[in-house]
Point group: D2
Chain length 341, copies 4
Amino acid sequence: MRIGVLTSGGDCPGLNAVIRSVVHRAVVDHNDEVIGFHDGWKGLLECDYRKLDLDAVSGILARGGTILGSSRVQPAHLRGGVEQAKGHVADLGLDAIIPIGGEGTLKAARLLSDAGLPIVGVPKTIDNDISSTDVTFGFDTAVTVATEALDRLKTTAESHQRVLIVEVMGRHTGWIALHSGMAAGAHAIVVPERPFDIAELAAVVGKRFEAGKKFAIVVVSEGAKPREGTMEFSSGATDVYGHERFSGVANQLSVELEERLGKEARPVILGHVQRGGTPTAYDRVLATRFGWHAVEAVHHGRFGMMTALRGTDITLVPLADAVQHLKTVPADRYTEAECVL
Amino acid sequence: MRIGVLTSGGDCPGLNAVIRSVVHRAVVDHNDEVIGFHDGWKGLLECDYRKLDLDAVSGILARGGTILGSSRVQPAHLRGGVEQAKGHVADLGLDAIIPIGGEGTLKAARLLSDAGLPIVGVPKTIDNDISSTDVTFGFDTAVTVATEALDRLKTTAESHQRVLIVEVMGRHTGWIALHSGMAAGAHAIVVPERPFDIAELAAVVGKRFEAGKKFAIVVVSEGAKPREGTMEFSSGATDVYGHERFSGVANQLSVELEERLGKEARPVILGHVQRGGTPTAYDRVLATRFGWHAVEAVHHGRFGMMTALRGTDITLVPLADAVQHLKTVPADRYTEAECVL
Amino acid sequence: MRIGVLTSGGDCPGLNAVIRSVVHRAVVDHNDEVIGFHDGWKGLLECDYRKLDLDAVSGILARGGTILGSSRVQPAHLRGGVEQAKGHVADLGLDAIIPIGGEGTLKAARLLSDAGLPIVGVPKTIDNDISSTDVTFGFDTAVTVATEALDRLKTTAESHQRVLIVEVMGRHTGWIALHSGMAAGAHAIVVPERPFDIAELAAVVGKRFEAGKKFAIVVVSEGAKPREGTMEFSSGATDVYGHERFSGVANQLSVELEERLGKEARPVILGHVQRGGTPTAYDRVLATRFGWHAVEAVHHGRFGMMTALRGTDITLVPLADAVQHLKTVPADRYTEAECVL
Amino acid sequence: MRIGVLTSGGDCPGLNAVIRSVVHRAVVDHNDEVIGFHDGWKGLLECDYRKLDLDAVSGILARGGTILGSSRVQPAHLRGGVEQAKGHVADLGLDAIIPIGGEGTLKAARLLSDAGLPIVGVPKTIDNDISSTDVTFGFDTAVTVATEALDRLKTTAESHQRVLIVEVMGRHTGWIALHSGMAAGAHAIVVPERPFDIAELAAVVGKRFEAGKKFAIVVVSEGAKPREGTMEFSSGATDVYGHERFSGVANQLSVELEERLGKEARPVILGHVQRGGTPTAYDRVLATRFGWHAVEAVHHGRFGMMTALRGTDITLVPLADAVQHLKTVPADRYTEAECVL
């Protein structure tokens, strides 16, 4: 068989581990040929690719990023993109395509699958917001990086009697905030699923100080927003250039909390470190298993499907199911964490 | 309510996180009183304990070890141990006991539960060999430590054209070897579940050198054994003092492989570093959830049960089920890893 | 003897290691009594302290922060502060004070020393900008944290064809930028000692892209500023609230570079993670040695001095020398790094 | 100019950083040509090499091992080796050779230098035992790895009331034991420079238990030996095969201490993890500076010299001085550590 693989969307620790696993399983065990498209769907649309043999994937298992590059280009963005993709698949004699990507990528995968292309998707997101799978690779690494940062920040907050507001990734869902906040023992966790009331947040933090504690750590998802009418809020505060992108929710929360509590409050925005670098052992194992099972799915003709983790098993679920809705943090997980507002 | 908690058996990253979680949930949310027995069942049998309030568990979430101490004492070891335990539970007015431990501890928990004591167990093992739960806390940390060591060892092996045989924990099951071996891209993984044929192992490694590769990494569980009749083997090689405990399977494999392959082979025995120190974020979250749900089980009177992870949910399973058999690595997981002998 | 110890100024990994070392040396080896003032000079001025015995410092060697707390209060801030300090030293029967702190703290130490108090200082700064010592504890940890972040960010930048501008600590000196930039292989390093020309920086980065590279990493000290007249620059850009503190040089550089290069540029501000948490082994050894030698200095009556590292030796230098000027990055260190503008 | 570079001897984190730095400085700044010999001196003797341009060293700064490979072959081992080396240097038109290695390599470098070859050495050893330089790259990484292991082991020892005897590298000198032991707060440090008295060691550890402590950590260099006549000792205990290499001093100490103290004692031998993998930021900076200055030395014709760190400066010292004697731990460093026997 001849299989094409591509990585699309934002960076995510484990992408290379999937690529390597696909190549190992396909080439060594099935005697397949594997090609890798450059820069995501862009490579497919522009027929820009290279052959992936064992040497090409040697030493990449633990490496961050993707040797194939990535982009945010989607076939649907391009007039005639789907037809072009079909044409190139035919020209290249491909028996299957394995796109590795997040929500947008999987939607594109579904589109192409519906258009008749033989596709097996591999879900990828550090945000953990793809439904139909217990977890995706990249999430554990993001949580680990955030937790290590929180561990470091805690001692500073304690020694200096401060409130630290730590902004972690998560535009639509609070998974990283929830897990890193639980792992680091944060005193409040603010997630997009539950718009916050600033007065309530201030009360929670204030109670700690009243109880004689000298510091507090608040973890907040970048996508968290105040309950309507409770706080003046700019979802993209402007900087001196009039750009909206720099000021995040942590900045605004720290100003508000400092004023309300009369305690020094400081924002820390962890940013891109959460989505780069060496994947954790957990993510490498999961990514490797996804790659292996994607090749198996190809050989069993199970197209239009996506690999998924269910318990300890890797299964296949329809692409159609996977992209229907975001997987948000369920209410009982908040209760467990106790400190989710 | 009045709840007693204890930690028993070998060290395991996450024990303190469970203790802290039990205290938080019980004291803050239910207004319970919690006492901690010292050194496992020993503390219960000797009525040696201390009160655990919020201050007592402050700052322990990320700390390795157990603030309560541990021992390998089991109530059944002691003549009249079960009766003694019952007596102390009555004297202390305990409404529940939450023992945190591995197979032996959970068996003792079942014994005491059958004898009428109100018990909710929390499973603990770095080996991941307790059935009825997808995974136990401590395992992810052990795999992470082993993987980091393998990452380091790989570059040395490569630069010096060696075979490194790395012995990881796992007396009866190969979970740590499987996961760390997959995560680090080991070239052969040897597990207790599949007695190895030394000739076959030598052939696998030898093939790598024939293909022009300059090194190989073999990961082996401490409990791995040769297929009968294939190799002279001492399950506990003696040292100069006649003690059997020091020489492990890695030592013997390295001697054999060096002779068979004519390549320098070196054993590395990772040892206790795998079971100590700060738990990973994953293990802290799991341990915290286990503690939370154990208290909930107590308040719902669900005695004779044990917390368990199923998918992304924490559930309760009968202690009786949990200790019936070891959870060994299933065959399809070997196939995925490819390099398991 | 009776010795008072205090920690003052910003957080710095290794503070607890110094405290522990002072107590160990003084109590175990000299049979001294040690008291610790709370929250820096504030504790001395308010006579707020506690006794420090071996138990009090047990387990703190590797812990971030300071068990004594810190503040930015200086005796000179307070009318009659120096007299008050002298009074309390007399009242408490102290034979020596060991203040651990940065430039401000050491200046205060000198002031008090000149006023006749028996003082031996221990220098502390993650910025490495105290002269008279080769290096201070905390610096290695800050560089390590920054380097790990840069390692992670590199793969993301590469996969996504971006310029990442990473802001590290260093208000007046570029030591952290220089070392972390060298350690991570940054493509440009911008330091306060050399006001930058934005056109020149854009040219350096642009040349990389012309050479076919797909990403660039720029490390910039928080205190870096443009050469006069070369770029509109706000040393404290305002946010929606009119607060100046959030927008740093990295934000402004990323806007400028994106416009000039036509490449996606993103700022990452590492922030407080650089100054908290577990110290590196290097910093623990240095901090421990500083504490040991501070006690020795006390017992030899070498007051008005500060511990310092020279080569591999710990020596004593006059407090007067230590605080005369900031230790900036010398020109030949730039040349070595090559990529310093 | 045309420069040859090679790496020789045991693995050491930072080798690739030196190679990269040599190539960057030579190629970019001086327009030199650089070739890399394979597998140390062997490559020079067999004229086995490859060209090293910027692409060849891209991405290797943080990678462990050496892209050139290494071996323990020395020119003097080979009849006519020196003449052969001279011949190849002439044939290849080399203006300089930069060998990167430890004591043996530097001795060979001196031999070849005395024979008229243009050589600038770069010292390398995780053991830190090369005199004339404050420190060598690789040492900080080894200490860091050992300290992280000790941090992990401490919690296990504490929870289980054990003595752990941790063997670290250091055949002839105790630097790694001293620094990691100080960094981790070990309770006894045993080094080769001071043959130990087992009774004295047992007394030191025993005193801890008498004082109510529940565990002890002993760090021992692999090359440590008992004072003559104080303990039966096998410098290479035999395993079942009659091989001497597996049983180390930690094994023997743990048997002895267990017997003398009546406490459970366990050996942990850290082994090769200390010398492989990603170098610390400190080692990357030092290695990069060494490479840079080696090229400068070549361009200034300063042959027969070796790069060295003195304080914060990189200087050049005669190869002859560097290899005259091992740098052992001086007595005052023991005193500081207090717990060195």
